[in-house]
Symmetry: C4
Subunit: 161 residues, 4 copies
Amino acid sequence: MNLEAADRIKLLVLDVDGVLTDGRLWFGADGEALKVFHVRDGAGIKALQSAGVAVAIISGRESPAVARRAAELGIRHVRQGAQDKAAALGALLRDTGVPATLTACVGDDTPDLAIMALVALPIAVADAHPSVLAAAHHVTRLGGGAGAVREICDLLIEART
Amino acid sequence: MNLEAADRIKLLVLDVDGVLTDGRLWFGADGEALKVFHVRDGAGIKALQSAGVAVAIISGRESPAVARRAAELGIRHVRQGAQDKAAALGALLRDTGVPATLTACVGDDTPDLAIMALVALPIAVADAHPSVLAAAHHVTRLGGGAGAVREICDLLIEART
Amino acid sequence: MNLEAADRIKLLVLDVDGVLTDGRLWFGADGEALKVFHVRDGAGIKALQSAGVAVAIISGRESPAVARRAAELGIRHVRQGAQDKAAALGALLRDTGVPATLTACVGDDTPDLAIMALVALPIAVADAHPSVLAAAHHVTRLGGGAGAVREICDLLIEART
Amino acid sequence: MNLEAADRIKLLVLDVDGVLTDGRLWFGADGEALKVFHVRDGAGIKALQSAGVAVAIISGRESPAVARRAAELGIRHVRQGAQDKAAALGALLRDTGVPATLTACVGDDTPDLAIMALVALPIAVADAHPSVLAAAHHVTRLGGGAGAVREICDLLIEART
């Protein structure tokens, strides 16, 4: 565990499926129908933003439910359908003006490794893929969609005080 | 664990997300679509009301599913969309005529702390946020949405006999 | 554990919520919207019927999803909205011509106790209410909605051979 | 555990309910309404196909959600509503031109035993029925719908390198 960058973080980048959700995809006859978020993650994201840390979403999939949840939480930087997550991160850092050295990200699977290699504080959820667990500087106690993001928000807020 | 107030409780105040549910928020394209309650919590709530204890709901979110479930269980005091939970509790105590010294509440997260500090018996679900676990006089064995509320109903009924 | 009646059972009576499901109630804006069954329970129910044991459902709630699932599994005796479960069992025994001494039932909560007291083999799911666990002659290893009913079907089939 | 065939596998045959899902069947008023897949299984299936192993689905049930998810993942061989799974496997092997000696399959319940007996590498998910666990040459660490398929994809890719 290496959390030395935690007190400087100005931007937290979140994956959706497997991080803000438990990785389950709810399909109906017309494709993906629901996304299942966690209420305690939302309270943490709002508290973290109030503490002066920006929160952003980069997701490989695309879903109106993500846009709705992000709007509810005041997350303005939402990049869905990102085939190239490293490129999406680059654009995000330009938009926000926050350097990678002040950025943390949370991932659960191999597509997140490209982002995790670029930021100061790469974090894995407890139930992440083994390759992501190995690449992370910190692993949460809780699983994706079960409060892992809240855990990280609390940790970043505490590190700043 | 401090349950000395249990035998005097006349009012049980419940949070919704994370207490009557497991904290998961089911989002569709139009926002929150479903709430997931537990059948055994419902049986406990009905039994507790029959035993002479009033049950009320105070929730920061707002959902027609909560109104439906509350109606089914005969819960008349339902305050949704409560931004200030302490104020909602004050209004509830005035409406019911029950003093805070005869009131228990169940919470899972930091917005519930304002209520928990005011009542005689503050309770946390097993999977509550650490700050809520620390503030509670009692912690349930089961998690929110998985029978935690039933556990409390049984406990309050037993304390009265 | 007391399974001496298992080899004579001619009728298995199942509760729905908490037995064929994990007890979660999925509410939308118009009330209950979904029931979640387990595929392996279904395979067990079909195998048990093929082995000559009738299967019936007695539920206190009422849901078209239950009727659909029962039809799919060939369960003809379905009594939903049963406020008085003992009365529903009496009517079921008359309809099927099977005596209570050749009947097993599976329950998870206090409303099932009235049925459990009447049949030869009362069974509780692993996560049943404490009062139901205490009243059961057998407790499954798996929880309701997670394969508990399959476990019982396998056990009854094996006992007959 | 017997994985000696893993490096030769050219075709992976997957069951749906209990393997690509956790076995739960989501019923609404009109019958089955949703299937719940796992995002990390999907990433594994795509990686396995890129590594030159074909992936196919044989399911006893029938659902448009399965067709949608299969299309998203580029799975061309999908046989739903297969009452006779061994016959469905025979047709699949003819269509793909892959012999059973180069085929793996993943199952969770007794209807899968007919397929498992025919292929070189029969695999069970962690929470499979006891008869399937007994028949498997390999049992996954994770349960169906919770990443079991990803585990197998990783294993087959690793075995080829």
